[in-house]
Amino acid sequence: MTVTTTGLGPNAAELEEAATRIRRAVVRTVAHAKGGHLGGPLSAADVLAALYFRVLDIRPDDPTWVDRDRFVLSKGHSSVALYATLALRGYFPLEELATFDALDSRLQGHPDMTVLPGLDMSTGSLGLGLSAALGMALGARLARRPFTTFVMVGDGECNEGIVWEAAHLAARYRLDNLVAIVDKNDLQQYCWHEPGSEVRQAPYSDDQLRDRWAAFGWSVTEVDGHDVAAVVDALEAARRHEGAPSVVIAHTIKGKGVSFMEGNFRWHSRVPTDDEFALALAELGASGTAGEA
């Protein structure tokens, strides 16, 4: 099933603006830190905007609120996109993004819940986040709490066997308070390729990914992961779905928003030069210096 945009009206423009601001902050932060990842954070920006600016029931001024919806960024190397989102949503000052990757920073290379309020789980070793999210959803059911747990995994991350251990168990327990999002940007760090070729193969075809999650017993939805209104609808529908966990496969473009990064696996974790940085910001409708909020 493909969800199409419905009824969000003018609010869609606000979410699109939020996504663009996330992308700008991502590029500025990575350029300033001279480290981090770009491709994955940029592919995830629209889904994060949809989650944090519309879907999630959260209180940025009370990040430990017991009944908040949970979010786990299983693809933890996209931390910078989550940090940008949390800052824009008011969890901490935007200026703090300039501390990303610095010593003593709360903004570690991969999300660290022990130092940054607003993170529901520490992640970084690919595959683990879905298991943790499953535990949260199971806990919500056992404790009769109303919250929903959302977790974002990468399509490359689905190489990890633990993803499928968790997929099996979540479906077995019919955890319909668990929603996974696969950021299907069709690239991973180095990917499979023909010998000598720069052309990269996607981790999974659309059919393969859809069929695998469906075979494990999940309710599968597909959506254009850069259509924020459609993403909101897909996530809300997934939250309401009963009887099985849901996965929203978000079809995305790695490096989305910066033309020379889009679809190029070399931008997985490359740091832009000064010229590339200026060009990237210009494409995102902004100017300024690295690290600027």
């Binding site: 806990g139 747990t149 633990i162």
Partner: protein, 334 residues
């Protein structure tokens, strides 16, 4: 001295946790599909709504435990040590120990005795692995009474805990409830010539070794270490000061376990000769319990022989440097 027979540590596991769970709604037991072996089945029988079968998928089980802990539960992930530690180590490191989540890990079938399952199931380096995790507490009780106390202390402690639970029936080492506390080492026997530092159910065999040594004129103290991490450094330094030499005896590889921990500690705080007895950097095998323990140097007779041989060798080395043998040492040569 003959110790009274006691139950296996795994046998008290499910009972004690179920008893605690009646008063503590946070407690859950997660099973990696070995409940009928690990002892978690008695918890399942007593508290079926709090028993979560996670299947044969230990990485995921430990990850699920982390998620449950993050929303306020006290999950106990239960399975064979080889799998809950060995296979799931990444989940433990990243999702449990780094975020310091309140997950308890019950490692069953620790040590050599795995029902003759052999080297795949003999997790001889669980302490070595877990000891490298900065936030982990490691408990290794010696008998059913101490195990019951250790399990209660494990639940009361806020933070990740790993507990070793052995398979076979173990003699009663403590006549009364030893009043378990996380941290302190427990003096079992006094002695003046050497201190034998031991842990888990091996302590009972080490005590028997001390009695064999006594008959040979060697007065060995026995110090039991039921909390391997954090290590009771003061007690071990005091033992080193008191007896001048230490032998560590563990049902674990000598690489990275309690012997390593003691050697590391003493080399910095009070250097004395240290002998590490245990599995000598090799894998185990299948075999009946007593012959298996003896072959790998863990029976009371084997421990006593190795300790005595070490003392004699030390004496020989000393005589090469010192013309007059020290008084009292000759008794060890008989």
């Amino acid at each position: 001295m003959t110790l009274a027979p006691g139950r296996a540590l795994r046998a008290v596991f499910g009972e004690v946790i179920a008893e605690m769970a009646r008063d503590d709604p946070r407690i859950l037991v997660l099973d990696g599909d070995v409940a009928s072996s690990s002892g978690a089945d008695s918890f399942d029988a007593a508290m079926p709504d709090r028993f979560i079968q996670t299947g044969i998928a230990e990485q995921n089980m430990l990850g699920v435990a982390a998620g449950l802990a993050s929303v306020g539960f006290v999950p106990i992930a239960s399975g064979f040590a080889c799998f809950v530690v060995g296979r799931a180590f990444d989940s433990i490191r990243v999702l449990i120990d780094q975020p310091r989540l309140n997950v308890k890990i019950a490692g069953g079938y620790t040590g050599m005795l795995t029902g003759m399952a052999g080297k795949t199931h003999q997790m001889l380096n669980d302490v070595a692995l877990m000891r490298t995790l900065p936030n982990m507490t490691i408990l290794a009780p010696a008998d059913e009474r101490e195990a019951a106390g250790a399990l209660r202390a494990m639940i009361a402690h806020d933070g990740p805990v790993y507990i070793q639970l052995t398979r076979e029936a173990s003699p009663i080492l403590f006549d009364t409830d030893p009043g378990f506390r996380i941290g302190p080492a427990v003096p079992i026997r006094s002695g003046t010539d050497i201190t034998l530092v031991s842990t888990s159910v091996q302590t009972t065999r080490t005590l028997a070794a001390a009695e064999i040594l006594a008959a040979a004129g060697i007065d060995a103290a026995v110090l039991h270490v039921p909390t391997i991490k954090p290590l009771d450094g003061d007690a071990i330094v005091a033992a080193a000061r008191s007896t001048g030499r230490i032998a560590v005896v563990e049902e674990h590889t000598v690489v990275g376990g309690l012997g390593s921990a003691v050697a590391e500690l003493l080399s910095e705080r009070h250097p004395v000769p240290v002998k590490r007895l245990g599995i000598q950097d090799r894998y185990g095998e299948s075999g009946p319990n007593e012959p298996l323990l003896h072959k790998y140097g863990l029976s009371a007779a084997a421990v006593a022989a190795d300790v005595r041989a070490w003392l004699v060798a030390s004496q020989d080395a000393a005589e090469g440097l010192v013309s007059e043998p020290r008084s009292g040492m000759s008794a060890w040569r008989s």
